[in-house]
C-alpha cells in the first residue's frame, strides 16, 4: 500500500510539472499574442522602447522568444519583470508566501467553523439547527469578493481592523501583519466554512444511519459516543474529499480578496502584471498559481488516502 501511495505521489508530481509548464507557456503566449506590449502603454520615445525591447529579446520572432524563455525557465530563471525591473523569481518568492499564508489561515478558519457546525447540524434536528442550516445556505451564496467588501465596510465603520492594506511585505512585526490578515482571511474563509458545514452535516447524518452506527446505538452506546467515535470517522472521507476542490476555490477566491483588501499576495501581483502587460511576470505568476493548486490538491488527496484505506487501494488505477 505504501508503495502504491509513493508511485501515486510520483505520478502526481509529474502531472504537476506538466501543468506548470502548460499554464506558464500558455499564459506567456496568450499575453504575447495580444496587441501592444508593456512599453507601448507609455509615451516612450521609439528609440528607448526599441532599445528596451531589444534588451529583453522582445524584437525576435515568436519561436525564438519562446525558446529563449523556455531555456531560461528550465534553470528557474523566469526572466525580468518589465514593470519592477527585477527578476520574476524574486517577486514571486516575495508574494507567494503571502498568498500561502492567507490561504492556509483561511482554510484553518473555515475548518474550525465548518466541521463543528456541521457535526452540530448533522447530528440533531431542532429549531437551532434549522436556523444554522438557513444561515449556512445564505453564507454559501456570498462569494469572497462580496464578503471582503462587506468586512471592509464593517472595518471602516467600526475602526476595529485596519482597512488600508498591508503596505509592504518587508516591514514591521508579525503582529501588524496578523492584524491585516484577519480581514482577508475571514472574507476568504466564510463561504468555504459554509460549504464545509453543509457537507459535514450531510455526511454525518448519512453516517448516523449506517448499519455500523445503528448497531453501536443498539448495543447501548451513548448518542454522544456514537456521533463522535463512530459516525464522525465515517463522515471524514466525504469531507476530506472536498478539500482537493476547496484548494482551487481558495486560490481563485484569494485573487479577488487580495485586490479588494490590498493584501500583497500572488493574485495582486498577477493582476498588476496583467494590467501592465508584464509578459514574464504573468507567466511566472501563472506558474506559481499552478504549483499552488497542484500541491494543494496533492496534499488533500494524500490526506484522504491516509484517512481512508479504500481510497489508497484504488489509487494506482
Amino acid at each position: 500500500m505504501r508503495r502504491g501511495l509513493l508511485s501515486f505521489v510520483g505520478r502526481r508530481l509529474l502531472l504537476a510539472l506538466l501543468l506548470v509548464f502548460v499554464v506558464s507557456s500558455a499564459s506567456l503566449l496568450l499575453v504575447d499574442a495580444a496587441p501592444g506590449d508593456h512599453f507601448s502603454a507609455f509615451d516612450l520615445d521609439p528609440a528607448t522602447a526599441a532599445a528596451e525591447r531589444h534588451r529583453l529579446g522582445l524584437d525576435k520572432s515568436l519561436p525564438a522568444r519562446y525558446g529563449a524563455w523556455l531555456a531560461r525557465a528550465t534553470r528557474f530563471d523566469f526572466g525580468e519583470s518589465m514593470k519592477y525591473r527585477r527578476p520574476v523569481v524574486q517577486l514571486v518568492a516575495e508574494r507567494a508566501p503571502m498568498t500561502a499564508l492567507l490561504g492556509a489561515v483561511a482554510l484553518a478558519i473555515a475548518t474550525l467553523i465548518g466541521v463543528p457546525a456541521g457535526i452540530f447540524t448533522g447530528s440533531r434536528r431542532n429549531a437551532l439547527t434549522a436556523a444554522a442550516r438557513a444561515l449556512s445556505l445564505v453564507v454559501v451564496s456570498v462569494p469572497s469578493l462580496v464578503t471582503s467588501f462587506g468586512l471592509l465596510f464593517l472595518a471602516a465603520r467600526t475602526g476595529w481592523l485596519p482597512v488600508g492594506g498591508l503596505a509592504s511585505t518587508a516591514d514591521g512585526h508579525a503582529w501588524t501583519a496578523a492584524r491585516y490578515l484577519i480581514l482577508p482571511a475571514t472574507a476568504l474563509a466564510l463561504p468555504i466554512a459554509a460549504t464545509i458545514e453543509r457537507l459535514q452535516s450531510q455526511a454525518l447524518s448519512d453516517a448516523l444511519s449506517e448499519p455500523s452506527v445503528r448497531a453501536a446505538l443498539a448495543r447501548g452506546c451513548s448518542r454522544r459516543r456514537a456521533v463522535w467515535r463512530h459516525a464522525f470517522r465515517l463522515s471524514l472521507t466525504p469531507v476530506l474529499a472536498i478539500y482537493g476542490v476547496i484548494v482551487g476555490t481558495v486560490l481563485s477566491g484569494s485573487f479577488a480578496v487580495e485586490i479588494v483588501t490590498s493584501w500583497p499576495g500572488l493574485g495582486a501581483l498577477m493582476y498588476e502584471a496583467l494590467v501592465s502587460r508584464d509578459l514574464f511576470l504573468v507567466a511566472g505568476c501563472a506558474a506559481a498559481g499552478a504549483v499552488f493548486l497542484a500541491f494543494g490538491t496533492l496534499i488533500a488527496d494524500v490526506a484522504l488516502a491516509l484517512a481512508d484505506p479504500r481510497t489508497s487501494e484504488s489509487v494506482p488505477s
Binding site: 454559501v140 451564496s141 456570498v142 462569494p143 469578493l145 465603520r157 496583467l274 499552488f292
Partner: protein
Amino acid sequence: MPASVRGAGAALAVLLAAFAAAGPRLVANPPDRQFQEYVFAPPMRPRLIDAFGAPRSPFVYPLILEDRLERRYAEDRSRPMPLRLFQNGALLSAAGDAPWFLLGTDALGRDQFARLASGARLSLGVALLAALGALAIGTVVGGIAGFSGGALDDGLMRAADFVIALPALYVVLALRAAMPLVLSSSQVFWTMVAVLAIAGWPFPARAVRAVIRSERTREYAEAARAVGASRTRLLLRHLLPAARGVLIVQSTLLLPAFVLAEATLSFVGLGFGEPISSWGTMLRDAGGGRAIAEAPWLLAPAAAIVLAALTVNLLTAGDSARTRAPRLQ
C-alpha cells in the same frame, strides 16, 4: 422545508428575470446620466405617511444639498413628489422637478438603481450564455466520450481532467489578456461568454459522460439497438435525454460561478469598461473602504450578486450537498 424553500427560490428567480428584462425601463433616469448636483446622494425611500402623520399615496421627498463639501443632503419635506406608474417612459417615476434615486447615486452622480437594472442584463446575460455554451460543449464532448468509449473516451476525459486541474481563474485571466485591454462592450460580452464557456465545459462533460456510460448498457438502449436504431439516433434520441438531470444540476453550479466571474473580471478592469454598467464595474466604482463606509448603498451590486447565487441555491436546496461542490470561483 424543501417545498417552501424552492418556492422562495422560484419567486426570486422570476423577480431577477423581470428585473433584468425591464432593465433601463424600470426608472426614468438613464443609467449613464451624471447628475452633478447629486453626487453620492443617499437612497430616497418611498413613503406612505407624510411629515404631518397623514397617510398618502406613495411619494418621495426631494433632496436638497445642505453641505457641498461634506456631501450632506436633507429631505425637502415641503414638497413631496408622488410616485407615478408608466410615466416619463419608465415603469416607476416621481412627479416633480427633482430626480428620484431609489438606491442613491455613485461618485459621478449616476442613479445606482438604473445602473443596477441595466447591469443585470449584462451580468446575468453573460452568465446565462456562458453556462449554455459550457453545457453545449460539455454535452457534445461527454456524449461522444461516453458513447464511443475506448481511446477516444480516455483522451477526452484526460483533457477534461487537465482543464479542471488548471487554476481556473488564472486561465480565464490569461485568455482574457490575449485580447486588447480596451474592447467595445459587445466584444467584451462575447469574449467573456467564450472564455467562461472554455473554462467551464469539463464539469458538464464529465457528468454527461458518466450518465451515457451507464445508460448505454440499459435494456431500453439495447432494445433500441436491436430494432435497428442508428448510433446517432440512439445517442441523440435515447441516451442524451437521460442526461437532462445532470445538466440541470451542472447549470446550477455554473451560473453563480459565472455571475461571480463576470463581477471579478469587471471589478479588476478586465471586463466591461467605464460608461457601461455591469455589477462588476459598479463594484469597481464603489472603490475602497472609506467610500463604502460613507455611502453603503454603493454595495448594492454586491447584494445583487448574492441574490443571484442565493436564488440558485434555494432552488436546489433539497439536493445532496455532496453533488454541489463549488469551483471556478
